[in-house]
Symmetry: D2
Subunit: 326 residues, 4 copies
Amino acid sequence: MPASPATFTFLGPEGTFTEAALMQVPGAAAATRIPASNVNAALDMVRDGSVDAAMVPIENSVEGGVTATLDAIASGPELRIIREVLVPISFVLVARPGVALTGIRRISTHGHAWAQCRLWVDANIPGAEYVPGSSTAAAAMGLLQEDAHYEAAICAPIVAQEQPGLAVLAENIGDNPGAVTRFILVGRPGALPERTGADKTTVVVPLPEDRPGALMEILDQFATRGVNLSRIESRPTGQYLGHYFFSIDADGHVQDARMADALAGLHRISPATRFLGSYGRADTQSIHVAPHTSDEAFRAAHEWVGGILHGVPLVQETASEASPTA
Amino acid sequence: MPASPATFTFLGPEGTFTEAALMQVPGAAAATRIPASNVNAALDMVRDGSVDAAMVPIENSVEGGVTATLDAIASGPELRIIREVLVPISFVLVARPGVALTGIRRISTHGHAWAQCRLWVDANIPGAEYVPGSSTAAAAMGLLQEDAHYEAAICAPIVAQEQPGLAVLAENIGDNPGAVTRFILVGRPGALPERTGADKTTVVVPLPEDRPGALMEILDQFATRGVNLSRIESRPTGQYLGHYFFSIDADGHVQDARMADALAGLHRISPATRFLGSYGRADTQSIHVAPHTSDEAFRAAHEWVGGILHGVPLVQETASEASPTA
Amino acid sequence: MPASPATFTFLGPEGTFTEAALMQVPGAAAATRIPASNVNAALDMVRDGSVDAAMVPIENSVEGGVTATLDAIASGPELRIIREVLVPISFVLVARPGVALTGIRRISTHGHAWAQCRLWVDANIPGAEYVPGSSTAAAAMGLLQEDAHYEAAICAPIVAQEQPGLAVLAENIGDNPGAVTRFILVGRPGALPERTGADKTTVVVPLPEDRPGALMEILDQFATRGVNLSRIESRPTGQYLGHYFFSIDADGHVQDARMADALAGLHRISPATRFLGSYGRADTQSIHVAPHTSDEAFRAAHEWVGGILHGVPLVQETASEASPTA
Amino acid sequence: MPASPATFTFLGPEGTFTEAALMQVPGAAAATRIPASNVNAALDMVRDGSVDAAMVPIENSVEGGVTATLDAIASGPELRIIREVLVPISFVLVARPGVALTGIRRISTHGHAWAQCRLWVDANIPGAEYVPGSSTAAAAMGLLQEDAHYEAAICAPIVAQEQPGLAVLAENIGDNPGAVTRFILVGRPGALPERTGADKTTVVVPLPEDRPGALMEILDQFATRGVNLSRIESRPTGQYLGHYFFSIDADGHVQDARMADALAGLHRISPATRFLGSYGRADTQSIHVAPHTSDEAFRAAHEWVGGILHGVPLVQETASEASPTA
């Protein structure tokens, strides 16, 4: 991926939270931005070279993993997650100018948005009927059509700002005021994003055998190197019930020696392990690294074993204190 | 819960795969069955005593955990999963009588169903437009209305069988022929379902501390007792990013000594652990139990320690072979 | 064992460090004390009821485990370690009155004592020849015999104090001034020593299978319950090379719930596990117990699981905070 | 060490089992063999270059680890174990020609030999008195002296064969007919013994912190790489009670990738870890290596991570089967 991709795609249409996420990427505001109708279409545009990268939703703090997105990245030609973006979720209720709350009987929006505004709707427009929308933006734009069969829509503030034909009847109507949604920018394999000290690595690990302890062996590869996990999900392989793989986010970058070592361990016990990317954490929260898992500790250990293999005497300066007295 | 609940609710409307799942429960065909508009509403009817149990969808072999359902069970007044049901997912394309494939421009269904029939649609009705529906059954029933703005719907075979006003244009149009969806029957706390030898236990475990190894400690409670896991998902607590709990399915029944012991271990390290139920596996696949994790091994160990605590000599018959010679 | 045993044996002869250890036991000074010629003879006197308990050496801070003693306890009819005693090791050089350092050519003592005084001897009586003795006390007493073929002996201060025929030529001649030897008092199975909060439990665990991880499973029984180990030794079973058992000291008393639970776990994976005793630590250093491994945590967990098994609703007061929001 | 060391030392005097062990080393029969008076003296001759290697006893199948030997190797300037030798232990009773069993009142030998012949002595020379000897050979040779104050000695067959002045009164008088003692040949650091496929590696690992789980972390370094342990002993550091190190024998050679990786892990968590040698097992029993811990698995994992770090696409041939379907 070039430092500033010239072209992007995103889960459209225009005006969604996903486009808001893309706008946070340096250079994206001035770049070509092509909406995609679904996540797979967006990823295919990256795979076939039509665009340089795709912004797609992955999770929010209320609903957990949007697993379909990760599954789509984990199968087919390889892709890489190159950036994580957090967007505060703030919903507005929009209608055509002149429509009042009392005139609303039916409301359209995406199912997830509806779920997150139910308390407000029940309190303020009791009895309102829900009309499913394919996205929050599509629901809002639908109000502008002649044959709209609903009177209001719930969407992101960005839509209303750009559409003079829509009026905002209420703001911040989400039931969970601190809600945040996570998005990822996905590119093709190539140079890794730079290590920032506040990184995250995503992998997909097929379970080698379905027996007590197999999952422990996988997780132990991280734990013995002091690598913390921030997300884990078992996922059926899609072939038959009972076969699983694990989708995992781990704290750190593959350029950290402890992470590289953990990935090598995963590869040994599950050779079909997939690396989906190392990238900066959106929250830029740096990671505590125990001294014995630092790059320096790995380098020193590597040198020590190298000395043994090449027949060099290896007395450590500290050995006289730690080893037994004669 | 009485052996045969008199009244059930299910995620409606009538004609969904969820109702098909409920029909598999002994006695349900003859019982009162009340459709609910969403999972929370169904669970609330159980909690307030309006019905005896609710059938709700939980997972399918393509899309992984439907986590919102588990979250809804895990919060609020306690509920219990009392049965698991698997339903083969088979989709049909329906339209009003007289409509041909060539006359279809817009198709409505639930988003999940649409995702699972994309290949068939692309191959057979290229260019078809998607109209979101709140359920497969609602999309199908919508065709019967005067102002329907789409020509066809994708739904379960059960709908077409019951509705003379709908014609089946194509059967088995799902892209994944072996697809199966998992449903659970949820009741109030009470007597546990009987142990069958092919059981599953579901728990929710808040992560006690966010550090390397905390997850390992949780999983170790199962592994050291020889209990296999069939599903694990980390889930944000909904309070703020970075705080997690784990939703876990483990093989076995809480009446198995190894499972009771594992749950006790979980409770110690994470006292807010929630037990969501022990119930028969839908696949009735019995579990291999290692001799040292059998009920008998637990009983013998308990007696042995009891003997120590009460000052009884404890020479084991096998001790002379296994212990050192003088 | 009665609270104050009337009769004791100890590894003799009189005047050894072992008798000094026995004198630390309340009531022993006034009790019958019978020297035994070797550890097995002492233990046999306990087994056949001739005495109530035996004091035998087990370890010192320079030489590690005196494994033969533990092996002798671990085989044959069951015994129990009921007390641990530490004795500072201070050596003196004794000779007949009138003999000077310059007149010494040969020195007798036990091999262990000789090893611990080599630096002093080399510096002060260079060229001295070593004459093996069966004990430090025997070497000293031998000086009183007509045909003694050595001029000096290294022994415990207690010997010289009691024998007017011996003169002390030098004190504190040990090379390691802080040396301490550990002794144990061994009785028959019966009432356990009272829990003091600074206890130790000794077990012998045959390795169930010789494969990677079997030892880990054993140690995990302690680690998952927060039980620290203060000693571990693999020991051949004496039958053939390659078969092992483990001799382990763990911090805590079997009346501690976490220790009882760990022992039960050991019994399951290795049913020939032997309990050798729970007894107060000689250093009376109390143990830090993590909250989740306290007796209270075990009791609460037991009650929680009991509630599940008996169908009682189980909402925890803290559950509302830790579990997901609706 | 040169392929055929010109000079050896061994724990003397001549005629001991240790010399018998040395005679098994190719070239030793024709080489210079210098007896040493104790283990430390033998090791010092290696350290100061007086000899090329030293043969010293380490263990037998009845008495477990001779820990003093390992402690002596583990402290001071570095040494390397380069070979392991097993010697069957067969005892004979010797006396001056003309002495009969009935004429024996006192028997001399080393304490360990005495312990291993007690049953035979009690049955055949009841009431015999024990006279401590510094070695079995010294006890036998002492019979030839004018002032010998005992009538018989227990020693290795080799002594009697070489001494016309001694008569064998009884053979195979050991209580444990299959007894075997283990010896090690110790040299200076240099080229490692060749990997044979049936190797053993000895290390000394100071316990980094005295807390539950620290030992587990050490052992986990072996277990996660599929390395089995054949011996472990905790040993006090000699500084103060409560501080420990571990002396460990592990199956495999440091030239095995899994062992090199395990040692690197040990070095990270306990930087004062000492490598005492990789050398062929005396029993030449080859080790089972799980596929995921083979050198090939380590090489493949290393290449895979290398590819990630250098931006190469990494699709595995097996990935399409093991990873999720689209």
